[in-house]
């Protein structure tokens, strides 16, 4: 048995062979088909709910929702912000930590990136679904046309279109490029013709040559370099959708960083949920270790505290501005019709999070699962609160009116969750969900550093 340094990122039993065996086995010889089929079946029901909700929405229009004047946006936009926020941690973990050479990311980045892609897909659907005339969504895209009309480039929403579009493309590329060496690895182990063809096509003829590796590395790093500023710009753009308006509770300069931090915070929570679930389901404790969880929990705590600072400063700004409308909105948040959303967000995003100060909690999968779930829900509440409390009471008291989402808004939200899981189940079934070659890199690094024996 090789000696393993306590700082090692993977379990002592891990070596090159076992990494490939354990990870590649999942798509090739799926270990727990029954659980997968059950989960996949449920997510298919979710997809069905999505399809029915979307069909009814297209057929009847957004009038089937509870939105009104003044609450013109409602769940559609708060869910959009929530989904796109979730898509941030994946890229951040993957790209930022790659660029600053934090090897521990290598166990997490693959499914974190998958999460990003799938979440951004949900987020990207919402702005189209919520349109009054969704069949004209392409008018948001600048293209030369016979009407010689271009989009309106001052609109934050227009820049959201660009940001989300770019983010989706870059995320997909980054994820896929990162997958190529592993796809080739699985291809080489595949015994059945169908898998050989499937992975063979996806691997784009990867032959593991040095020149491949060299070009791949350049490409991957460039993509990482592109993805990272996008994380900031995409969610800043989303924040500008609100800050650009004059509505009290929206119109503040703190919004872009506040939104970005909140998004990353939410994303880490979801990464935690996924990594704990996956390592339990596929018994990958040796690849995703307690130390990974500890790292994630620390980051979660850090971003959570930054988000809390946002809450604090938002309130302070409203009070300090002396603006009656801003103060009114603050008061509405604290004690109005939607105070439950505000205090729910505070409780779930801030109070619960404080447990992460304790090492024991940070290394307890069960505790982190609970905290991750709390933050995921809490961030949803926060997004809902931010969108709704600003609109339902803005300037003229004569326009005040509450907003109650209808069945179809909830069902569509449930449907997008279903679609997300549907894609995720396919991902864990079909693709190597943990980056094999990058873990091997870590093993190599650790061996070189003397932290463990050279793997064979």
């Amino acid at each position: 048995m090789a000696t393993v340094h306590p700082e090692s990122l993977t379990a002592p039993s891990v070596d090159y062979r076992s990494v490939t065996r354990d990870v590649a086995a999942v798509p090739l010889a799926f270990p727990s088909p029954r659980a997968w089929w059950i989960g996949f079946g449920i997510s298919c029901v979710g997809v069905l709910i999505f399809l029915v909700s979307a069909f009814w929405l297209f057929y009847r229009g957004v009038g089937i929702w509870g939105i009104n004047n003044p609450d013109f946006w409602g769940l559609a936009i708060s869910n959009y912000v929530w989904w796109i926020g979730m898509g941030h941690a994946g890229t951040l973990i993957s790209a930022l930590l790659l660029l600053i050479n934090k090897g521990w990311r290598n166990s997490l980045n693959r499914f974190a990136e998958a999460m990003t892609v799938f979440a951004v897909i949900q987020a990207g659907m919402y702005p189209i679904l919520h349109l009054g005339r969704p069949w004209l969504f392409y008018w948001l895209i600048p293209y030369p046309n016979t009407m010689t009309v271009w989009p309106q480039f001052k609109s934050p929403l227009e820049w959201d279109v660009f940001a989300v579009g770019t983010y989706l493309i870059v995320s997909v590329l980054f994820w896929y490029v990162g997958l190529i060496p592993d796809l080739a690895g699985v291809r080489d182990r595949a015994k059945r013709r169908v898998w050989q063809v499937f992975f063979g096509l996806l691997a784009l003829g990867w032959r593991n040559s040095a020149i491949h590796w060299q070009r791949w590395q350049v490409c991957y790093w460039i993509l990482a370099g592109l993805a990272l500023p996008l994380v900031i710009s995409v969610h800043s753009g989303v924040a500008m959708l609100f800050a650009g308006g004059l509505e009290p509770g929206w119109h503040t300069t703190i919004y872009p960083p506040y939104f970005v931090l909140g998004a990353v915070f939410e994303g880490f929570a979801v990464v935690l949920l996924i990594s704990i679930t996956l390592r339990h389901a596929f018994r990958l404790h040796h690849l995703v270790t307690d130390r990974h969880l500890d790292m994630l929990a620390k980051l979660l705590l850090a971003f959570g505290l930054m988000t809390a600072y946002g809450y604090l400063f938002e309130g302070f700004g409203a009070w300090y501005s002396g603006d009656l409308y801003e103060r009114q909105t603050l008061q509405d948040r604290l004690s109005g019709d939607y105070a439950w959303a505000y205090w729910g967000a505070i409780a779930l995003n801030f109070v619960v999070l404080q447990a992460c100060w304790f090492r024991a909690v940070r290394r307890s999968a069960a505790a982190l699962l609970a905290i991750g779930a709390a933050v995921t829900v809490g961030m949803w509440l926060e997004r809902f609160m931010l969108v709704t409390t600003a609109l339902y009471r803005d300037f003229l008291p004569s326009s005040y009116q509450a907003y109650v989402p209808t069945f179809w808004e909830w069902s569509l939200f449930l449907g997008t969750i279903g679609v997300f899981f549907f894609l995720f189940f396919l991902f864990v079934r079909l693709l190597p969900m943990i980056s094999m070659f990058e873990i091997k890199e870590v093993l190599q690094e650790e061996a070189r550093g003397g932290h463990r024996a050279a793997p064979s």
Partner: protein, 994 residues
Amino acid sequence: MAATREIRDRLKALATGRLEGRSGRAYWRSLEELAAEPAFHDQLLDEFPSLEPVLGSRSRRDVLRIMGASLGLAGLAGCDFGPPQEKALPYVRAPEFEVPGDPEYYATAALLGGYALPVLAETHVGRPVKVEGNPEHPVSRGATDLFAQAAVLDLYDPDRSGATTRLAQISTFDAFQIDLIGRARELEGRRGSGLALLTGAVTSPTTLRLIERARERLPELRWFVHEPVGNARRHEAARLAFGRILDLHPRLDRAEVTLCLEADPLGPGPAQVPNARAWVDQRRAKMAHGELPKLYVLESTPSLTGAKASEALPAAPAEIHNATLALAQHLGIGGIEAPELPLHLRAKVLEIALALERSGEAALVMPGAHLDPQLQALVFRINQQLGGLNRTLVATLPVEARPEVGENSLPALAGAIRTGEVDTLLILDSNPVYTAPADLDIGDLLQTVPFRVHVGAYQDETAALCPWHVPLAHPFETWSDGRAVDGTASVIQPLVRPVRGGRSMHEVLATLAGEPQAEPYEMVRATWRRVLRGRDFEPAWRQVLHDGFAEGTAAETQSVEARPVEAPPPKKPGAIEAVVRPDPSVWDGRFATNAWLQELPKPFTKLTWDNVVAVSPAFAVEHRLDNGDLVDLSAGVRRVRAPVWILPGQAERTLTLHLGYGRGRFGGVGSDLGYDAYRLRTTDELWVIEGMIVQAADASMPLASTQEHHSMLGHHLVREIGIGELAAGRSVVPKEHHRPTLYPEWDYETYAWAMTIDLDACIGCNACVVACQAENNVPVVGKEEVLLGREMHWLRVDRYYSGEASQPHVHFQPIPCMHCEKAPCEMGCPVNATVHGPEGLNQMIYNRCVGTRTCASYCPYKVRRFNFHDYTADEPPTLVARRNPDLTVRARGVMEKCTYCVQRISAARIEAKKEGRRIRDGEVVTACQQVCPTRAIVFGDQSDPDSMVARAKASPRDYALLAELNLRPRTSYLAEVSERPAGDHRLEGEVREF
């Protein structure tokens, strides 16, 4: 054709049978006439309704021919719809001077409670689309009320009755005429005794002439009048005070100190438009001299007059009664028993009495038209005592052809029916089964009258109980005439052939008078030969048609002297009283099927689609009631369940019931709305029901109000300036220096459209809201959608309270689009669907809109309206013809909002360009501006310093709403003017939220 043979055989048999039963000579022209046996007739018609017109006069051959032809021509039904002069569209050869796209205007009149409001109706290729007030007419002066604006929708109302019916089977007007002719012949034999007419208030000279004609033939004909919200008590009071029936007109333009005792001269009704204009004229004239006219209002329930009063005092009806007595006592009118009065009211009465006395001849005391006639007569005495009678309160001969008083009222008719004096009853444009006091049991009584006819616009409650129902044509469909509140006579021109096949009331009366073939046109002309006596008829007639009225036909002013009358005894206040009021939107129920009016937010409650029991905040606290809670109201044996609404300014122990609702199934629009307050009224307690018992029903219902919040929460949304400050040259806000902005300035090369709304002049009458809806094809969304907050009105009237909830100040603020210079909506739209126009209009490009709703989310005024559903596609097909063709109809998923009536700007621009000049000031008039009875809205080009709007904006009262946002709105407001000096009155005073 076995059936025909069978008919023939039965006819023979019946005829023979009849002859056999007779003694003496019987004259008959045909077997058919002889066989006029009702049972057989009905059976026959059950089988062949289309035979109705021919039965009785044609041969078998004719019957066959008509049966065949009716089959062949069935496809042509419904072709009878178009302009009145037998034109058919589309033209093969277009008539000269008619340009498609150019509207034509006809002078005609809209009716409310029998009174004509002269209007100019806009028609597009034969379709009436919109009405405007007649600017030449002394009553309208270019303005209308909300009912006239909505009248054009009634024209296309698919719920209007479309066919003559007999026993609920479709029949024909000819068949009805035949039946009526027969009946009239029978009546002639007994000089018309047993014949009764029941009408609403009538001002039409032609109706009067025809009834007189009928009376020549049938001298014992009796004519009863029933107007649910009429002037019966006012006329009774005049008879008491002056010895004869007279109309009394307040002259608010002459009054300097006015006291309204339950009177609502600015409120809805036939006189609203002239009263509002007179009020604002006087107010502006006084304001120019640094003064304000005083207006005191004692009212049991908030009224529009109370909202504009210097001081509105809520008081129970009994207290107002006593206060009137106390006032009379103060002014030295003898024979009055000292009334019991709460201290604060006693002091207030003294103060008012002094103010009235000081004002002398310029004082006016107005009694409510529904007050006890004795009390009203006393008030006339008070006016005489003050010196204002014949000056601020002017009497004229009555405008109504037959003023409703005791002996010709509905109770008198009920009495006559009960004693069997009536066997033939013609109900003309009246719905007594719904509107009669509950104790008359008019429904049961009616059914004891053997021959009864209902002529009305709807298959209503009365129609259901009358064997014959004749659909009444809309005023815009047939020739008629009428008189305005001042008595000026107008000819009512048809704009279109009867859309639903209605008939003129005149045709029915002419049939009765023995002229069944008379055409309404000829009948009206015959009348007007008398009206225009002494003038060359044809040119004079043409002039009247052109002008819309005949000059110099106003009711004659009478110089009167009020006789001393016995003052009524004081009342004992304390019990719960209920006052009954017409609904501000559907009046007495006649507009129940009008979707515009149903969805119009009522001035105080902002409720749509329902009526409520208004209660005071204190009453609600005492009985633990909340908005929408159901209560059981009982007065004697009569019970009604109704939702309550908490109304600030309501007298503490007084409930207000609004008429016009609770009709069960009544068409597509009017069904299952509200409760029926008529069920609680009795002949003796028509307007005040004493001793009402209220019991919470432990249930509630949703009520669709468009405004849930009633206080300004400390924001300066409606501003106010003291008259003293104004006179001293101070401004309501420091004159605006534009704050810096990052956005570049716009260059305006041509016009800069702008609007001002004078909040001091706005009486909250809602006419502008309906006018906007009519002009701009604004869809109606229904109660469920209003509950969700999706009403579509481009122009809304916000209503705020300040001060004490028990006696609040009321502020109305119409909110159209502000057309900001730095519009946040323009910045927000990702697809350039809302853009800044070259003349500063904030334009909405419907066909570019994809419906992101960013613009609306960004709009601080929340004036944008979104088509959440396909509202216009859901409208009944008949209403499509009503739409203004100058505007796009918006589809689902598209944003819309006030455009400053851009279609009218375009029309003016085209005219100006043709003549090679600029658009003149005042040439573009927005729909809301045009209809406003107080001229509160001014629109024009603010880049021209001499324009009316530029001058209005230079006023020291001018301010921008939410100016602190630096959006530089083009719409600005002129502050309310108060008598209170600055600082004395705080507008930000909070009102408890209900």
